[in-house]
């Protein structure tokens, strides 16, 4: 039986990234090595008026240090409180949760598409692909934000040594326009066997699936939903399936094949 770990972890590092984004490195999580790209941890944020845990994709792990890293954006009460934590503060972390990404075939050209704060799981996937000896040159990372400020940890991503295509809606950095427009233009000139992985706002994911349909490219998306339990019990995080009925994002997802969920 799969085992979910619940640990009283500890903040070992926190960083202010661009804009409203923050990075937290969380230690004392002995099973961090089990965390796979696309999986998430469910974090109990100490403070008033935050009752449920909050879900965050794994951005990176350091199995030897028994730590994991998440990157998050301040959007409400919970994330605001999370941003106030300091080194040494305790916080309860549950994971690994959810299904991660399926790895591509070695021959595939891998198109990674990250929109805004959808970047963390995509970065983690890229990193793990490289560690698993995928060809760096076949990994293309499209990373879009509204403005340059929304693109965080660019230096970090660059270190992966893969092709990075930053885009901003206003052209303040990189390609001007939606990240999906950049992908489309890229696909118009390139050929090969592709596989796409995407995480970002719903509108972006819809556009990605459209592209995938048009170019007949297989792939996966990672979606979001508010998650009371995060383990598949409450049925609160459901999304409708194309085939009818509902799927529990926390357990059956958050990663789905193209065309599986009704976006």
């Amino acid at each position: 039986m799969k085992k979910v770990v619940i640990e009283n972890a500890v903040v070992i590092k926190r960083d202010r990234l661009n804009g409203d984004c923050r990075s937290l490195t969380i230690g004392n999580f002995p099973k961090s090595r089990l965390l796979k790209p696309g999986q998430f941890v469910h974090i109990r944020i100490p403070g008033p008026d935050v009752y449920f845990r909050r879900a965050f994709s794994v951005y990176d792990i350091n199995p030897r240090a028994k730590s994991l890293q998440v990157i998050f954006k301040i959007v409400g009460r919970g994330t605001a409180l999370l941003a106030e934590l300091r080194k040494g503060d305790r916080l309860n972390v549950m994971g690994p949760l959810g299904k991660g990404f399926d790895f591509p075939f070695l021959r595939d050209k891998v198109i990674l598409i990250a929109g805004g704060i959808g970047m963390p799981p995509i970065y983690f996937l890229a990193k793990k692909l490289i560690e698993s000896k995928y060809d760096r040159r076949k990994i293309l990372f499209f990373y879009g934000g509204k403005t340059k400020k929304e693109l965080v940890n660019m230096a970090h991503i660059r270190k992966l040594g893969i092709k990075l295509y930053p885009t901003t809606d206003n052209g303040s950095y990189g390609f001007r326009g939606f990240v999906t427009k950049a992908v489309r233009e890229f696909l118009n000139t390139e050929t090969g066997q592709f596989r796409i992985y995407a995480c970002g706002p719903q509108a972006m994911l819809r556009a990605v699936e459209e592209i995938a349909r048009k170019y007949s490219i297989p792939g996966q998306i990672s979606v979001e939903a508010p998650m009371p339990c995060g383990m598949g019990i409450c049925q609160g995080c459901v999304l409708p399936l194309v085939s009818g009925g509902y799927t529990r994002v926390c357990r059956d997802g958050p990663v789905y094949q193209f065309g599986e969920v009704l976006l």
């Binding site: 935050v50 508010p226 009371p228 339990c229 409708p240």
Partner: protein, 304 residues
């Protein structure tokens, strides 16, 4: 000497009074990844109905201050699949299984319970008289004679103990409680959720597609305690108390008010290991207080 946590309800012995509540432990599969279900006194499975139900469209839940609203809409696999897959899965655990049953009308309760009659793994049934999230849901919850009738009809087809689960959304819960007792219920569990609402002020829309939902969590504990105590004074059958329990202190409050066992609900979402912690803490508490059997606490509230 280790204190005795066991309790007897409807002639059935439970190794401890800590159960998990319907709808907050699914059919046990997921929680089994967190702890050994055999540690539990009992487990109440998610409400089942005759046919599978998909439930309401999302959003189905929302966070409130120290609580949550849910309108899952009784999503469940239906009694057939429940018996074949879910009860089967639960066979490997040494805990009592209480099967929660819901229905659109009296006949559905009877049909489902009749099917469960032949499943010895279903130690008991708990009749959900109070789901505020489905059209017909509140009818039995607020109608004493209908509640009595439903219990007595179920008793005819189900050979093991029957629990009636009551709604707090009534003027006088003791009326319904007494009716269920008269109908032959071996125990009562209370409370189910309070009817509540939350609004998204950006979209001007309710936060649940069902418009209203059931309020649970620590916020409702005082209401639950008052109702447990009121019903305790009104009936003779045992009470299983629930509503907002998070720790052993909460459990002792419920026991003192008259509950013989308790159920842990929403707390499982926030801290899935809650029941295990509570069992450990209760043992320590009883040892410290030199109380041999936990039943000694039941109803010991010294009112003014």
């Amino acid at each position: 000497m280790k204190p005795d946590l066991s309790v007897v309800i409807g002639g059935i012995k439970f190794k401890n009074p800590i159960w998990t509540a319907s709808g907050t432990c699914g059919y046990g599969e997921e929680l089994a990844e967190v702890f050994d279900l055999s540690r539990l006194g009992g487990m109440v499975t998610k409400s089942i109905t005759s046919n599978p139900r998909e439930g309401h469209p999302p959003p189905r839940t929302t966070e409130t201050v120290s609580g949550m609203l849910n309108a899952i809409g009784l999503a469940n696999v239906g009694v057939d699949r429940f018996i074949k897959e879910k009860l089967k899965f639960l066979e490997r655990f040494n805990t009592r299984v209480i099967v929660n049953v819901a229905g659109a009308k009296l006949q559905e309760y009877v049909e489902v319970c009749a099917q469960l009659a032949d499943c010895p793994r279903a130690d008991m049934v708990e009749l959900n008289f109070s789901c505020p999230n489905v059209e017909a849901g509140m009818a039995i919850a607020t109608n004493a004679s209908l509640a009595e009738k439903t219990v007595s009809e179920v008793k005819k087809v189900f050979p093991r103990p029957v629990i009636a689960k009551l709604s707090p959304n009534v003027t006088d819960i003791t009326q319904i409680a007494k009716a269920c007792e008269a109908g032959g219920a071996e125990a009562l569990s209370l409370i189910n959720t309070l009817i509540g609402m939350a609004v998204d002020i950006e979209t001007f829309r309710p936060r649940l597609t069902n418009n209203t939902g059931g309020l649970s969590g620590p916020a409702i504990k005082p209401v639950a305690l008052a109702m447990v105590h009121k019903v305790y004074k009104a009936v003779k059958i045992p009470i299983i108390g629930l509503g907002g329990i998070r720790n052993y202190l909460d459990v002792i409050e419920f026991l003192l008010c008259g509950a013989r066992a308790v159920q842990i609900g929403t707390a499982l979402f926030v801290e899935p290991e809650t029941p295990i912690k509570i069992i450990r803490d209760l043992e320590k508490y009883l040892s410290r207080k030199k109380i041999e059997n936990i039943q000694e606490l039941v109803g010991q509230l010294r009112i003014y």
